[in-house]
Structure formats: structure tokens, C-alpha cells
Symmetry: C2
Subunit: 307 residues, 2 copies
Amino acid sequence: VSTFRNVVLLSGGVGGARFAHGLAQVVDAERLTLIVNTGDDLVHWGLYVCPDLDTVMYTLAGRADEARGWGLRDETFGVLDGMRAFGAPDWFALGDRDLATHLVRSEALARGRSLSDVTQQLCAALGVRTRVLPMCDTPRRTLIESCDHGLLAFQEWLVKLRAPRVKAVHFEGADTPTAAALAALDAAELIVIGPSNPYVSIDPILSLSGVRERVASKPTIALSPIVHGRAVKGPLAEMLRELAGSAPGAGAIAVHYGELLSGLVVERGDEASVRALPVLGTNTVMGGSTDRARLAREVLQFAEGLK
Amino acid sequence: VSTFRNVVLLSGGVGGARFAHGLAQVVDAERLTLIVNTGDDLVHWGLYVCPDLDTVMYTLAGRADEARGWGLRDETFGVLDGMRAFGAPDWFALGDRDLATHLVRSEALARGRSLSDVTQQLCAALGVRTRVLPMCDTPRRTLIESCDHGLLAFQEWLVKLRAPRVKAVHFEGADTPTAAALAALDAAELIVIGPSNPYVSIDPILSLSGVRERVASKPTIALSPIVHGRAVKGPLAEMLRELAGSAPGAGAIAVHYGELLSGLVVERGDEASVRALPVLGTNTVMGGSTDRARLAREVLQFAEGLK
């Protein structure tokens, strides 16, 4: 359906993962690369957990628990039971089969292998043919400066405290993207910014050395994660009000990404909020895999039209 | 029942753990110390696993799966399923609730806490009041020099290869016992060597600096792990033939421990195989908790009689 030889998707967790699932159905695997946020990775129960990478891998593998919004389907929680009995923190739940991912990854990292390497291994084992790249192989952490609870690690803010009001978002650690991510951006004929939270899912990727200018130099389409004034998932609507002083809508997303964008895909009815940018209004709330493929096709067609 | 102010049990896994469970019922917690073999500890799936310590803790907590012979009762195996799907080694199975133990322990060790410390924490969480000491806080590994497969890590020999023929047993790593173990031996008025494999469960403890001479200086009773020419569990009968050239029986156990022993408790009918040592013949195959307490009482009574 698309004449773009190389397409790169910048992605966070759920929204980006579902759109990735759509793209993977309509773009050949060798022409598609996903660059995934790792700013909200955490060490939990001593294991290295990559929530966004895992959501992307599990969604592409058709094994994500989409009703729950995280982890694997048909999961059990025996380890969590055991951890609770030991008084270990249980605010970040990990299922038993999911835990195997974190064990394999943690062991590989401890042996000195890179996150890119082990992600490739995990994808292969899960039957995911799409190229999935972590944005970094070195730790880069998204920190939330909250209004009422000081500086918080990302998952503590999001999961433990349920996203209290935000004053600012900070990134900590080396701003070095993986060489593979930079090469994919260099080769890209189209960059798509998935319908993920711009502040905490996409900005961490854009904040890396060399990424923003590469994205700016290519045709780039974003998908607005806002539907009828609310985020499909997560606290984005509140963040747009608090951090940008904007009403949550596609217009605020357009302003946020500014000159990076060649076009914006928005929920039908939200077109008018966007100024001075080509806009495609459609149904952006993705259902099952057919619906995801439909949206991916529409986005590629829209990008073709902007050539 | 006993006038011994301080009793120390040297223990391996299942047999020692069951006898420990008996002793814990008849000796006050503040007068009983278990020193447990850690020579067969292993790092598995990146986690630090202590098979003998865990069997002892779980057995004392009344939560061991005694039919299976390892791990916890009412266990699930979701992580194992997940690890299999990733092609990780599955010859050493860990249950989901059991895995919580290894996660808590591994994380604590990674933070620089000692194995003694984290064992105390795990025991407290499991409701185990008996003092359980690992023999070492530093790595000390039992290696098996096999006749046909070269030098093997202990669990590889026992679990993966199902105990092929043994040429020799070696110990690797610093021979430093914990200070608490030495202090317990110094304070002991009676030392009991549990019905564990002398070569691979008890010798690792005796091989530590300062342990053998302390055991030799105190009243010491061993329980023979041989019943009707066979080990209740494990490959001891074969090892006695291969390593000592002895028929498997209490006599071979008596010869193995030699001058360390003040007396030996043997399966009824096996008394005659023991020379020049006080012997108690009784039913040494332990059933449930009442039967374990019965055996513990008989052993203490026998030791009283040798005073």
C-alpha cells in the first residue's frame, strides 16, 4: 500500500504498540523499524523491566492482555503472591510468564549483552518479525517533578501514586541513542510518531542526541493520542493542561511537536483545533487487528498525499 | 526432654530438614541451631538458589512439598513455562512461589547483604523460629569429578545428569564458615549430624576451616541415611560403593565420620554393621511431624545416655 521504502515508528506503550501492530500488517517487516521508549524502564524485584518494549513485543506477538492493558494474556500471579508474603513491594505487578521475559533479559544484561541484543532475542522467541529497537542501550530515565510529591521515578509516579499533578518532566542519564536507531532514522523515508503520550513516551526518544534533527529533516506524521478531550489511556489530558496550559486536543499535540510534523492524524471532529498543518480526521481508537491495519493504511495514504 | 543447653544440627536437604523439623518440636528455639550446607547453591536463571537452605526453611515452615521432594506445596509453574518458551534451561525446575524466595534473596545479595542476613529475613517471613545458619556467607562450591563426564557443578551432576558415577568430590572457594556457625559449634553441648549424604551434604560443612576440630571436641551423634542398603533419597548407596568400596550400610557411615562420632543412630537391623561405637537402632525413616518428633526424642535420649 505504501511507496515508502523505510518507515520508522516512534513508540511508547499501549497506543504506540497497537498502531505498530497495524503497521506491521501493512508494511513488509524489512521496511519497518520501531524505536521504543525505554525512559520508563525500572529495576523491580531486582529484575530489569522494560514496560514499553514489552508491551510492543507482546502486542506484536498477539499475546498482550489488551483488556488489562499490560502484561500477557492467560497469566498467573504466583510469584506476586510469594513476593507479597515476603513483604516485597506489590504496587508494580508482574505475571509469572511475563517474569520469564525479565529473567531472560536481566541475566543477559548481567552477562554484558546489550538491551538491543536481548530485545532481538526475545522478539525472535516470541515470533515477532518486526525490527524492534530500544531507543537506548544505556540507562536513560524519565523523572517526574510532581507538584506535591517532589521528584519521582516514572513508574512510582504513574503506577504507585497514580499520576499526581506534574510540574516538569526531566531526563537523566546519557542521551546516547543506539547506533541502530540513528541508522534507521537516517534511512527512513517516513517517520510516524505513534499515539503515545508526547511528554513521557515520545519526548524521551526525541531528547536523545541526534534524534530531533533527524526527525525534523524527514516527512513526519504524528497520531494524536487525544480523543474527545481525553487520552485513550493515561494522564495526558491533565498534563496538557498543567504543562502547556492547553485544552487537551489535537491542536495541543500539533503545538507540542511544532516544526517536526508534516501532518497530524486526529480523531474525527478534532480537525479544527489544528492550525497550519495538514490534518487527517479519522477513527483513531483502535479495536482489533483489522482495525489497526485499517488505521495504518489510512496514515500511510495520508503521508503519500503529502509527498 | 533434653538437658543439653545448646544443640547444633548439621544438615543437608530433605533428610536433614525432616530431622530438623523433629528437633524443632522438642528443643526450645533458643537452644537449637541448624548449620546448613550451601555447597550445592547455584545461580539459575540469574537468581541465587540455595536448595538445602530452602528445603530446611520450607520444611520447618510446614510448607515443603514432601511428596515431590523439593519446593513448596500448592505451587504453580508459570515462570517455568515462560522460560521454556524462551529456550532457557528447564532441567532445574523452580515454582512460582518458590521463585519469590530466590528473587528476594538475589536482590538482597546484590545490595550487599549477607546470605546469613537474608536467610534470617526469609525465615522470619516464613514463620520459622528456629535459628537457621548457612554454613558460609561466601561462595563455596561442591564439584563432582565424575567417571564419565569430567568435572561437574553439583546440580548439573545430581539433577541434570541424574548422578552418574563419581570418582571424587571437591570443594572450591574460600573455606570460611560464618562466625555465627563457629560460635554455635563452640556453644554446643551436643552436635547432631543429620541423615544427609555425608559426601555432598555434610562433608562440605566439615571441610570448612575450624569446623571439623570443633565437631571432634564435642559429643556428636550422627544419623545414618542408609535404610536396608539404600539411601532414602539420592545416590548415596552408589557413592559408598564407588568412593569407599563399602557395602551401603550404617557401618560405612560410621567409618566415614570416624573419630568425630560419639554414637550412631541407625535403621533397626543395621546395628551389627557398626563396630566399636555406641549404636541406637530404631525406625529412622521419618513420616509426618509426630514421627519426626519421636525420632528427635530418641536421638536426644540416646545422647543423654552417652554422657
